[in-house]
Amino acid sequence: MSVLTHDEHTTGGHHESPEVIDHRQRLGIWIFIAGDVVTLAALLFTYLYLRGTNTEGSWRSVVAFDFTGKSLAQAQNLIDNGTPGRVFEKAVSSGLNWAIVLAVAVSAALFAFGERKIREGSARTLVPVGLAASAVAVVAAVLAVIQMRSIPQFYFVQNDSQLFIHTAYGSAMLALSGALIIHLVLLAFLGVGIVLRSLNGAISSTKWTQVRLVRFFWVWVAISTLITAVVTTALQ
């Protein structure tokens, strides 16, 4: 390998230009998102695989005790005296599913708006808009928690062992909701971080590249939520 060490290129000192650092960080976030795409693909594969195999006809049903609408005493009575039957599980509310998509989309749009404003030179707008985007992301996370809690558990008896279980459908929905909540909490953290940095002057109309990086991730989470909602409402 032939090497020159006195080219003009080499005399710029040890510090890199902001453009170079920005280029690197953009590539980094895209590669992270690519990894996240594979994670989502693995979870959707899980959902579709379980639905497709429908082992023992148990995709959305289970032979178990159904405690829906029963008090604790009634439930205990059912366990002691009843026999389990095939219980069918309602699909997760489509309305709630799409409400989550809407909330995430709104939060992404708000953040993208804040980014556009700061690129146009209006740094003040980013603070309220960034906070609003984070708040809406938290609302979406709360909706996702409500969705998780709406997934029923069934009391299940097999070979003398007794346990509470989710159906395959409920399990897959839990995993997808859980992954979404983790992403939304991360978004809220990043959004508030961007706001605090903006307040401290670390982000300004001339230093806004990190806002764009966060926006990339935010938009990806919105897209992934949409994909998940389409799959889980069209293929229940």
Partner: protein, 602 residues
């Protein structure tokens, strides 16, 4: 930030783990079937978070969050400037320090996995030996497998993609130095979880965590799965860093066609890891939630299926073989061209072969499931893709032979391991082709033949490649040669040991001996006895190598900056390498393998 180090990491980990344990114990329903698993999992999560806090992994994140970024002095401190040996025990961002830390971590992992291997082989020395009981034997098998897989994933990519790749491309550091430290210390956090799984009952289903046995295992499974999730995070972070470094930090003139071949192998492996390890993370996460929250992903009675676990696992599992293999192959190609004093034979073919290996490796996962009954009609296509992968494998193999062919071979220590690799990889590769054939696999699946096959690939090939890389770059890392005499003794012991152990294991397998059994029929006695003797010879070889490393690191013969007269950039900088590698960034004007051109030109 300045007081945090490995010790505070351990203290933080233990304290937060204890806190999580107490809170979980007090708040969870102790009568619940999932109580123990949830308690174990939360305690493990506490350990990881506490370790991160204690080592200083969140310091940069916290300061980013409040908008008070680290100043230049902080960054120099983090890079280990003027810290002496203390920097090796801290959250240091200098890629060379991280490279050295990876060497140590790899050696710890190999030692742990090796001790377990010796216990297993000792148990198998005679049919009726009772060195360990069958339950402990199964736990040792599982943890041995995973410890060694992790050790080999990081054995080349960890130390050398960190230590030499940035210098090879003419960069001052990795693209994201703090993430670099994070990947290393996250791996460190995973080790106690993995080994700790043995202390809480272990697990009995092998490193593949086969469902539904994994659903029924004790709390060792929780720590095991959590260790894998932690490791997957570490590897993903490291992969992003390697790819960004190479794609965005190359110096002027370092075009993609001038990249040293080891750099190519590193980024192809990193890219493949980014595809594979999310599956690893997901399958282990689903396993944990099955065990702690009553989901039914892998439980047939609740609508789940073990095939889902197998598919998710092997979607990761086979690409992972090439994540392990490719960096070792890249290092061996690098060494071969230097010590043959010839340009690399067909550079573009080598890059294309490695890329094809990576591409095909994602299409072969179901060959691990030929005997499970899953999708029999897909057996043919998967057999075909698996057999196709032997083509790029053969191409890469031929590149090594082509580079050696009529070369002016300089038989120094690294070349011994290269020739060992060539011999062993041929055996490991060819037996793999047999196993890709469905009729043969139906006979051989689950036997010691399979164990011998992948040990020829992992020990005889990847480990040899990792040791070759260590011998080759040791002078750059330490400024001293690795002791040739002890190194050669280690090579011959290990090489002979591998043949004795695994050739006789092939015979055990051909005669029908199943794997993962603590005891066996009397007809397998002789071959198992021979295998165990071979394993002890390998152990002797490894101990000699360890002695050589320690002795050479402390008082080996000084090597100077470029003892092999190599032409890649890492050899053109001083030894020890300065903090930011280059006083002035080099400009590259030719490809890296111009060996012999002086002779041609004259």
């Amino acid at each position: 930030m300045r007081r945090l180090n490995f010790l505070t990491g351990i203290i933080g980990g233990v304290l937060v783990a204890a806190l999580f344990y107490v809170i979980a114990r007090e708040t969870l329903d102790q009568g619940s079937r999932t109580f123990v698993d949830t308690l174990t999992t939360l305690t493990g999560v506490g350990w990881v978070i506490g370790f991160w806090l204690g080592i200083g992994a969140f310091t940069g994140v916290g300061r980013w969050f409040i908008g008070k970024d680290q100043n230049h002095d902080d960054e120099m401190y983090l890079a280990g400037k003027d810290l002496g040996r203390a920097r090796y025990w801290k959250y240091t961002t200098d890629h060379k320090v991280v490279g050295v830390q990876y060497v140590i971590v790899t050696m710890v992992l190999l030692a742990a996995g090796g001790i377990l291997a010796m216990a297993l082989r000792t148990e198998l020395i005679t049919p009726g030996a009772h060195f360990v009981n069958p339950q402990i034997y199964n736990a040792f098998i599982s943890v041995h497998g995973m410890v060694m897989i992790i050790a080999l994933i990081v054995a080349v990519a960890g130390p050398w993609a960190n230590f030499v790749v940035p210098i090879m491309v003419g960069a001052r550091d990795m693209a994201f130095p703090r993430l670099n430290a994070l990947s290393l210390w996250t791996l460190v956090a995973a080790i106690p979880l993995l080994l700790g799984s043995l202390c809480v009952g272990g697990l009995s289903m092998g490193w593949v965590t086969q469902a539904p046995i994994s659903e029924q295992a004790g709390p060792g499974m929780d720590l095991f799965a959590l260790a894998i999730i932690t490791f997957a995070v570490s590897t993903t972070v490291a992969g992003v860093n390697t790819i960004c470094t190479v794609l965005t930090m190359r110096t002027k003139g370092m075009t993609l066609e001038r990249l040293p071949i080891f750099v190519w192998s590193s980024i192809i492996a990193a890219g493949l890891g980014l595809y594979a390890f999310p599956f690893f993370l997901v399958v282990m996460a689903l396993n944990i939630v099955d065990r702690t929250t009553g989901t039914s992903f892998f439980i047939a009675s609740g609508g789940g299926t073990g095939w889902l676990q197998e598919n998710l696992f092997w979607l990761m599992g086979h690409p992972e073989v090439y994540v392990i293999l490719l960096p070792a192959v890249g290092a061996l190609l690098e060494i071969t061209t230097v010590f043959s004093r010839k340009p690399l034979f067909s550079y573009r073919t080598a890059v294309g072969g490695m890329a094809a290996l990576a591409g095909l490796s994602v299409l072969v996962w179901a060959h691990h499931m030929f005997t499970t009954g899953w999708a029999p009609t897909l057996g043919g296509p998967f057999m075909l893709t698996t057999e196709l992968i032997s083509i790029p494998t053969g191409i890469v193999f031929l590149v090594i032979l082509g580079t050696l062919w009529r070369g002016n071979i300089w038989m120094k220590l690294p070349m011994y391991w290269v020739f060992g690799f060539v011999f062993d990889f041929l055996i490991g590769g060819v037996t793999g082709i047999y196993l890709s054939d469905i009729p043969v696999d139906n006979q051989m699946h689950g036997t010691m033949f399979v164990v011998a096959h992948f040990h020829y690939v992992f020990v005889g090939s990847v480990l040899f490649g990792a040791i070759a890389a260590l011998c080759f770059w040791f002078p750059k890392m330490t400024g001293r040669f690795l002791d040739e005499k002890l190194g050669k003794l280690s090579f011959w012991l290990t090489f002979v040991g591998v043949q004795v152990t695994f050739l006789s294991m092939f015979v055990s397998g051909l005669r029908g001996m199943p794997r993962r059994y603590a005891s066996y029929a009397i007809i397998f006695e002789h071959t198992n006895f021979i295998s165990t003797i071979g394993a002890y010879i390998i152990m002797a070889g490894m101990l000699v190598l360890l002695g050589a490393i320690i002795q050479s690191w402390r008082s080996g013969e000084p090597s100077g900056p470029n003892p092999w007269s190599s032409k890649t950039l890492e050899w053109l900088v001083p030894t020890p390498v300065p903090l930011e590698n280059f006083e002035v960034l080099p400009v590259i004007t030719s490809d890296p393998y111009t060996y012999g051109e002086e002779l041609v030109n004259s």
